[in-house]
């Protein structure tokens, strides 16, 4: 668990705080996304957790210890770190890059080698790529190597600063899905920084929306932020189509469907789709009813426009 307790940061020479009395608890195994416009102090906040920046006042507690009471080098070796540009070392092969923290920690060669292979498999990096230098990888491969490197020493805590921002949208979506899938298995405590609200909604267990000057406008699960924005700033930042975005968070599988009949030409939606996709199917086909099938193809019931609206009212 990570606790920020009225943390303030004012940089030398600045006339106002970059982060102002920010308090936030990141619970074990959760992904907390810090999101906000530029100048909101989200990266500064994240960097105070591994002491790349030291707070002017307040306290940062990681796994029960005030970070200022720990040796910074030691602290950082226990926290995974991924940045937007990845920062892979160009003079080291991908395997050597992934092995960075295990090497710093003095692991046995054989253990490190096994771990590198394991990480490559986890991130679906072709083993053939391990002997290459970072300049020989594509953007998506580099990002995955960066995540593999951050995970290599199995740190309980990870800091990720716009880790998927440098790739095109298609690759980004795939990396996000892959990362969520990994996170479901590994259950790391993650602080994730982005400026993209849609990425925040997709990745977060909780979102902290920050305003300029490092002020938390709202700290809540994505669904709640979309349903009841705490301020005009949040509503504005979250943007239009809040209802649609909320539907995007609900899986068809989690919705009680009605038994009822459906016309023969009714479109079909599947349990592995979201309610937003189901709505899209209804409006594009012009039908009021869709047939819902379970992932094994079995008919589960029907979904009506009215039922979808009710989901938003709840």
């Amino acid at each position: 668990m990570i606790s920020l307790r009225s943390v303030t940061k004012r940089f030398a020479g600045a006339t106002s705080d970059a982060v102002h009395e920010l308090s936030l608890d990141v619970f074990e195994g959760e992904v907390v996304v810090l999101v906000g416009p530029s100048g909101c102090g989200k990266t500064t906040t994240m960097r105070m957790i591994n002491r790349l920046i030291e707070a002017t006042s307040g306290q940062v507690v990681v796994e029960g210890t005030d970070v200022l009471k720990r040796d910074p080098v030691d602290l950082r070796r226990g926290i995974g770190y991924v940045i937007q540009t990845v920062g892979l070392m160009p003079h080291r092969t991908v395997a050597q890059n992934i092995a960075t923290v295990p090497d710093l920690l003095g692991w046995e060669q054989s253990r490190t080698r096994d771990r590198v292979d394991e990480m490559a498999a986890l991130l679906e990096l072709d083993p053939e790529l391990l002997a290459r230098y970072p300049s020989e990888l594509s953007g998506g491969q580099r990002q995955r190597a960066g995540v593999a490197r951050a995970l290599a020493a199995d740190p309980p805590v990870m800091l990720m600063d716009e880790p998927f921002a440098a790739v095109d949208p298609v690759v980004r979506a795939r990396l996000q899905d892959q990362f969520l899938d990994i996170q479901r298995r590994l259950r790391k405590t993650i602080v994730f920084v982005t400026h993209d609200i849609d990425e925040a909604i997709k990745m977060a267990d909780r979102i902290a929306i920050l305003n300029v000057g490092g002020i938390v406008e709202q700290y809540a699960p994505p669904e709640e932020i979309l349903r009841v924005p705490a301020s005009a700033f949040v509503a504005d930042f979250v943007g239009e189509e809040r209802g649609l975005k909320r539907l995007g968070l609900i899986a068809v599988a989690d919705v009680e469907v009605e038994p009822g009949p459906a016309p023969a030409d009714a479109p079909i939606v599947s349990d592995d789709q979201t309610m937003r996709q189901a709505l899209d199917v209804l409006v594009t086909t012009g039908c009021a009813v869709a047939v819902v099938t379970a992932t094994d193809g079995r008919r589960r019931g029907v979904l009506t426009l009215e039922r979808i609206s009710r989901e938003l009212a709840s």
Binding site: R77, G87, H91, R92, Y133, Q141, R174
Partner: protein, 225 residues
């Protein structure tokens, strides 16, 4: 010049008779060059790291090295002779002082050119300051540092010939003797050997640099993810 014109361009018999001297002059030339560049780098490297870490020291450090660089070599030898005599030390001190500016500038430029995000992620993963220097900054600055070493080496090889004026000039000794006796073969021999030595040294260092930085060769993968 009539005297010179009367001679054949090169008297190979003379060259053949002096192979042993050619060998020992070449060795002296190389020794002086290597000593100068090695000592020069040993002085420059810590100064460059200092200038990189504490930016305000860059100006005074390069200013001092610049002054040394500006002193004409002949004047420097004259200044040093009362202290170190007509010795190889005199030549070496002069040569070292001319390498400093080039080596400090290139080393600082190399360190400054290391991508900030690579350093940031290294620090973020738990490299100590020392580890960042030796495992990240120095290796990544190596192409620029080596470029400086190549320039310093080649210019030192040229400067060694001036040391002939105090009797320690490597192959430059042939040029000086040749000029004194108006013997064209010896002048040409000295000049050609100095140029050849410079080219060979540059080539060897280039090969060493390539071997040290295999990652710098640009073999990019096709952009598939």
């Amino acid at each position: 010049m009539n005297l010179l014109a009367a001679e054949p361009l090169i008297r190979w018999d003379w060259v053949g008779d002096h192979l042993a001297e050619i060998g020992s002059r070449l060795i002296e030339h190389l020794e002086l060059t290597i000593i100068a560049v090695v000592i020069g780098f040993a002085i420059s490297f810590p100064l460059a790291v200092l200038a990189h870490r504490r930016r305000w020291t860059y100006a005074p450090v390069t200013w001092a090295a610049g002054i040394l660089y500006t002193i004409p070599s002949l004047s420097l030898f004259v200044i040093l002779i009362p202290i170190t005599g007509l010795s190889a030390t005199t030549v070496a001190i002069g040569l070292v002082s001319y390498t400093l500016l080039i080596l400090i500038r290139n080393t600082t430029a190399g360190l400054a050119g290391v991508p900030a995000d690579v350093v940031d992620s290294a620090v973020g993963m738990g490299f100590s300051t020392r580890q960042v220097l030796w495992h990240v900054e120095v290796p990544l600055a190596m192409p620029v540092i080596m470029a400086g070493i190549r320039i310093a080496t080649v210019s030192t090889i040229g400067l060694v010939t001036i040391g002939s004026l105090i009797g320690r000039g490597g192959v430059g000794q042939f040029i000086l003797e040749g000029l004194r006796t108006l013997f064209q073969t010896e002048i040409l021999l000295g000049a050609v050997l100095a140029v050849a030595l410079a080219f060979v040294a540059d080539g060897v260092l280039l090969v060493v640099q390539r071997a040290m930085t295999p990652w710098a060769t640009d073999r990019r993968a096709e952009d598939v993810s």
